[in-house]
């Protein structure tokens, strides 16, 4: 039986909610049941935003926000070093974060022991290179796909192309591939 929970952290405007949605759509496209939903505060640019995802091979009944994630995805590089993002992470869980730092450094800053896995990717740089704007969400998703294998890189790229028709979709698909290629895993 497949069942896992993902929590995504970002700041308003970076696309954390959209990342959760794309991940959910990629998983649904791959035949899984997925439930992807945001936790909005008072919506404003720059405020911390959390999004949640559940995936399973059977219908999902639980609806509450994710408190004990198997995977944590951090889209904002300044939140990446905030230990609160790893709160409730399950033993053996995985953090994939936007950061130029080595994953070992992230492990140290998040105070995660050897029982956890950690990966980093410089998604801000990829976003600026590929998209020309600071929307690191899709590059982090690419890193998540490559590091954890929970979703295929091309499935994500397809979901991005469906979400953004035309050139923007192609560029985000490229950011996903770059994120997958450049992820560093510890």
């Amino acid at each position: 039986m497949v069942y896992y929970e993902v929590r995504l952290h970002g700041r308003g405007g970076q696309g954390a909610v959209l990342a959760g949605r794309l991940l959910g759509e990629a998983l649904m496209g791959a035949g899984y049941y997925a439930q992807s939903f945001p936790e909005f505060g008072a919506e404003r640019s720059g405020a911390p935003v959390t999004a949640f995802l559940r995936a399973s091979d059977s219908p999902i009944e639980v609806r509450s926000p994710v408190e004990r994630p198997h995977y944590v995805v951090v889209i904002d590089p300044y939140l990446s070093f905030d230990p609160r993002v790893a709160e409730g992470l399950r033993e053996g869980g995985f953090v994939v974060a936007n950061s130029a730092a080595e994953p070992g450094k992230l492990r140290e800053r998040l105070r995660l022991g050897v029982g956890y896995r950690v990966a980093t990717v410089n998604a801000t740089k990829i976003a600026l290179d590929v998209l020309g704007r600071n929307n690191p969400n899709t590059a982090v998703l690419g890193a998540l796909a490559a590091a954890t294998g929970i979703v295929g890189v091309e499935q994500l790229a397809d979901a991005a192309r469906r979400a953004f028709p035309g050139r923007v979709g192609e560029l985000n698909a490229e950011a996903i591939r770059r994120g997958a290629a450049e992820v560093m895993i510890a």
Partner: protein
Amino acid sequence: MAHAVRQSNVDLVAAYPITPQTVIVERIAEFAANGEFKGEFVPVESEHSAMSACIGGALTGARVFTATASQGLALMHEMLYAASGLRLPIVMAVANRALNSPLNIHGDHSDIMGSRDSGWILLFAENVEEAYDRVIQAFRIAEAVNLPVAVNLDGFTLTHSAEVVRMLPDDAVESFVGRPPRRPTLLDDPPKSFGLMSLPDTYQFFKEDQQRAMEGAPPAIRAVEEAYRKISGREYGPVKRFLSDDADIVMVMLGSYAGTARVAAAQLRSEGIRAGVVSLGWYRPFPADELLRAVEGAGSIVVMDRSVSYGASAHPLASDVMTALYKAGLRKRVLSVVYGLGGRWFAEEDAKRLFRHAAEPGPDFESFFYYGGDRS
């Protein structure tokens, strides 16, 4: 939900945006802009106007839809009674959200409970697929019994959830809903008038007619649900029962947290606590008989309300459940629990805590606000 509207041969959508309903109406506006929605889309200047436009549209014989939430439903309140009093088959989605003050955009049932007695049929969806299904059913239900129908779905939890929905083909839905049956309209020749004055000698008759229509609605709703099952394989009915047949404790729920309670109930079975869950698909008309069949064997009933009836004997759903028990001559331990106000989290652990509490001996009636364990 927007897809259900697109597929249901709707002639008029009149709506005003309000979080968290906006996602539904924005999508309908997109469908209108790109030609996929064939009816009229009227962006009005307020929810009061939205319902007024729906009433006008329905009086011409058109099939109409609107959606709102929270303050929007409150502003619409006056016209809700006009819609039901005129016996118009209007369908509305309510993306349930808390009411001011303090300002809060998140989910609870305070909005619809404020309109509970406005004469609308009230259906509740547990997930996005059910919300889609219920909107399609609602048109036929409304047109069969000449009462407006509100389909409730929890704000954010459902409105902003991306999940699997098995949509039906356009032509299957179109032939299921067909065209609205003919009724007297403003456009008839010779023209007719509607909404006239009724004095003390007649007014109460109209109100009793509405009550009779509501009381008589269940067979029509069941017939639509059965017809829908034939095209979709999906049926919800007035109540959904889970492990309730042999349960000592039954939790009664409305809306999207029922699944969370079911997961908790299943887990508690391994601890030897016989927990069950009943989730209401209909709230008005209140399915008292089906509810009683589901809870008659239980010793304790935990009734979960996402709204408050200030100063009442019990909160809205609990009052309904207790009245049903009284009418059947049943006395049980009842917990009237207020939870989830303004989007407050409710997880499996919370449901388990309440089940365990209800499993302990206690007074026949308790009422409290539930906050959750160590969470702030």
